[in-house]
Every structure is written in structure tokens, then in C-alpha cells.
Symmetry: C2
């Protein structure tokens, strides 16, 4: 794939800006038709997903949403998109602050910049995991995967794919306690590796301890599937969690691999690589 490493690095994390005793959290996600959503998906659901994925980034910072700026490529379904956008913004308590609209041919492209206010400082980052920390996840992975199956087959419940829920409240409750946190957007294995890399550590995950919503025979698939918006975080060994979560591994000093599965090197393809 094309791509300068410096350009790819942009996707890494939220920005945090300090003003007068407050910390502002900023994030941007871009979604392209045929890449991040299916052409046949309803515009309402696409708008929801655009908001939810940004809100999930804020959740991982323990931030509360303020508002969003939308980059919108006009099409035949503008009213439906705006309805879905309004639903999602109301749900998450974020205001539509502004943005830009363009008319263009080619696959539809939508972008959203979300702005939030940190509820705890230091603001959780990916980089804070330390040797001996425990690794946790807030819930099972694979629900969005099953939802997409349902959407494609017309059989079963597609809600978790279409209307993923960003865990803002959970992120805010966890923020004071975690040593590192991020949302699982590209698969728990890949994202755990990213957290380990950002922290300069190695994370050893216990494969069977990772909760999955899918049948056991689809475990590997579920571990490499994103969009569940669960929170992946680390705490010091003795920490008492304010919410339910699943312990799935430990942090150790960096060895050759940033990620281990049951103490061994993981499969080559960990999750959804954007580029």
C-alpha cells in the first residue's frame, strides 16, 4: 500500500490541549464508502458510526463530549444522514458546531472532528503501561463482526455493527485509575500491540481469557475484528476497578515482540490495518 510512515502515524491518538486549568481532547476520524462502510448501508447508520467511532476515542480519554465539526460529501440521502447524525449527537450529548460540505464524485467521504473535555488529569494515554500492570477489557469482542454477518445475510441482529456504543461513562469512571487506555477499534490483538508499543512494553495476553461474543470456533476472527468500541486498559496490580471488566493479560518489560499470546509470538495478521 502507498503511504509515508509519517502520514500513517497521524491516526495514532487523540490530541490533548491545556487551557486555563482544563484539558481539551480532540480527535478526527474519516470514513470512506467501500472502505469503512458498505455502499448499501443506510445513511442514518453511517452517520451514527461516524459519531460513535469519534465518541469512542473520547471515551478512551475519559472525556465528556462537547461538540463536533462535520466534513460532509453531499449525496442523494442528505436528510437521512442528518437524521442519523442528530440521533447520535443527541444520544452522546454533543453539539454540531460546524464543518464543511463538498460536492464531489467518487466514493462518499465523511469526516468528523470531535471535541471533548477531560474529566480527569493526567488524561489517560496509550503510553503509560508499566511492568507488572494488569491488562483489562470492558466487554466481549466480536459483536460488531456478528452484526455485520447479520447485515450481509439479512439474517439475525445487526444492531451491534450498525449502532455501536461508545463507552463514555465507563471511560470517565476508569480515567482516574488506569495507567494506559485506548478503545478497541481495529481488533483487540492489534490494539494491544499498539498500546504496548506506545508504552515501550510487551503485553502478554491470555488467549482464552479474552471474552468473545462469537462461537468459540470463531475466536481468532473475533480477536482480530474491530468496531466493538470496548475499552482496553492497564492498571497497577492492586487496583480496584469501579466497573466490571475482564482481566486478559499482563504488562512486562519489552522483549522482541510487543505482543505475546500465552507467552508466544502471535499470528502475523493481528487486526484491521488501515493502510
Amino acid at each position: 500500500m502507498a503511504g509515508d510512515p509519517a502520514a500513517r502515524g497521524l491516526a495514532d491518538d487523540c490530541a490533548v490541549l491545556e487551557f486555563g486549568g482544563e484539558a481539551l481532547v480532540l480527535t478526527h476520524d474519516t470514513m470512506v464508502e467501500g472502505v469503512h462502510f458498505l455502499s448499501q448501508q443506510s445513511a442514518e447508520d453511517v452517520a451514527w458510526k461516524l459519531v460513535a467511532s469519534n465518541m469512542s476515542d473520547l471515551a478512551a480519554k475519559g472525556a465528556e463530549p462537547i461538540g463536533v465539526l462535520l466534513s460532509y460529501q453531499l449525496g442523494p440521502d442528505d436528510a437521512a444522514f442528518l437524521r442519523g447524525l442528530q440521533d447520535a449527537l443527541t444520544h452522546y450529548g454533543a453539539a454540531l458546531l460546524g464543518g464543511d460540505t463538498v460536492s464531489a464524485s467518487g466514493p462518499r467521504t465523511f469526516g468528523l472532528t470531535a471535541i471533548g473535555k477531560a474529566t480527569h488529569r493526567p488524561v489517560p494515554a496509550r503510553s503509560g503501561a508499566r511492568p507488572g500492570d494488569r491488562v483489562w477489557i470492558t466487554g466481549p469482542v466480536g459483536r460488531a463482526m456478528l452484526g455485520l454477518d447479520a447485515l450481509r445475510s439479512g439474517n439475525g441482529d445487526s444492531t451491534f455493527y450498525r449502532r455501536g456504543q461508545a463507552l463514555l461513562k465507563e471511560g470517565q469512571e476508569l480515567a482516574p485509575l488506569v495507567t494506559a487506555m485506548m478503545d478497541v477499534s481495529d481488533g483487540v490483538l492489534l490494539d494491544a500491540k499498539r498500546l504496548a508499543d506506545a508504552s515501550g512494553m510487551t503485553i502478554d495476553l491470555t488467549r482464552k481469557a479474552i471474552p468473545i461474543a462469537a462461537p468459540e470456533e470463531r475466536r481468532d476472527e473475533a480477536l482480530s475484528w474491530g468496531e466493538d468500541y470496548e475499552l482496553l486498559f492497564t492498571t497497577s496490580p492492586g487496583a480496584v476497578l469501579p466497573i466490571a471488566a475482564h482481566p486478559i493479560g499482563t504488562v512486562c518489560e519489552r522483549v522482541e515482540n510487543a505482543l505475546l499470546l500465552d507467552g508466544s509470538a502471535p499470528p502475523e495478521r493481528l487486526g484491521y490495518e488501515h493502510n
Copy 2:
């Protein structure tokens, strides 16, 4: 053209957010290949334009830049784009805070969210013009138009098209004084009409008073051409300007037309309509 009016309305203005005792100014511009820039333009120049157009939005608010979030569609020229981006960000004193990258086919699409800090409050808006106010512009229009001619013909100086300059310093100096302000991005006539509409007023421009950088026979064209990034603003009649500017009209109570040229209805096509 397609487009829900509510969606089109997004392009209207910057957002102003009170945060931590500061007024933050946020804006987003999206640029699409073949619509907002030519496929054959250098990636450096495209990156510059993306930054400059956002900085010009900040200038109209009297804001000083803090940083940007980039939405970037990867391509064969990523290193060149990043060079141009870095040049522009250094020039304007803005940091690259983050963003997102996508791989996609179709026309390249780039977006930039810029964040600035207001240097004066109330932050200038488009809506503040009052009857009797004078209308001003900071400099001539038509330079970007001539620059594009040069670029297309390979003859002459294309700098003003390729490397437009956002007037941040001028915007900051004017902010305490203006009753309304915006940057000229889609043509002075169209943008004056927008300012008049936002203020619920009518603006009467003196056609010959509008400074143009082009030959007189291209006046009409220059008046409907954007991308010069000059600032269009209104002041109370007795105001003494801190910088040089050209008086080009007056504000009066709203009549049928939001814009008049020498007291009469203007031509139907005022400037560059995005949708």
C-alpha cells in the same frame, strides 16, 4: 445539485467555544481533487492551500493559530504533501496535533480542522453589521485568479494561486474594531451578500471602489473569484483603522436584495457556490 439546505449550512462559519477562560475558534475545510484543486497541482501546493484556507478562517475571527487535525487520503506523493504541510504550519505557527489517514480510490480528499485562540472578545462574527456601517476590504481581489491563469498557461507568476496568504496579523489588529468580519473565499460579491444576510442587513457596494489586481476588463470576473483570502469587514462610520484598507460600500437596513452594486441589483451569479 444534490444537497439538503441544512447540510449546506454547515459551511457557514467558524465555531467559537468558551473553554478554560479562553475563546477557542474551530474551523474545518475539506478539499477534493478536481473540485478545489487541480489533479496536476503539486502536493506541496495543495497542502499549503489546505492550511491557508483554514488559517484565513481563523484570521477573520482575529484568532491566533494553535494547531490542526489532518484528514489525509494516502497517495503516491505523501512525502511531498507532508513537506508542504510542514512549510505552511511553520509559516503560520500551528502544530500538527493529529488526524486520520485513509486509503481509498477515487478523487483525493483532504480535510483540515484548525484550532485557534481568540485574541479579542467578543469574537468578530458575520452577523454584527449595522445600518450606517462602512464596508472595507484589506486588499485587491483577482490575484488568485491571475495566478491560476499563469499555472494553466505555464506563463507568468502563479504564486498568489498556489501560495495564498492568510491575513492572521491583520485579522488580530482589526478584531477589536470591526462590527462584522469574514474572509473572502468565494468572491467579494458573494461573501458580502453572506455577511449582509447573516447581519439581516443590505450591503451596497461601490463597484469601482473595489480594488482589483486584474486588468479593468476583467473586473466582473475578479469580483466573483475567491481564494484571495482578503478580509471583508464592517466598522461604525467614525472608526479609525489600525491598518490600510479600502472602503468599498455601506451597510443599510435590509431591502429586498441583501446585496446592491451601486444601488442596483447585482448580477445573478455572484461567486463560487460550493454546492
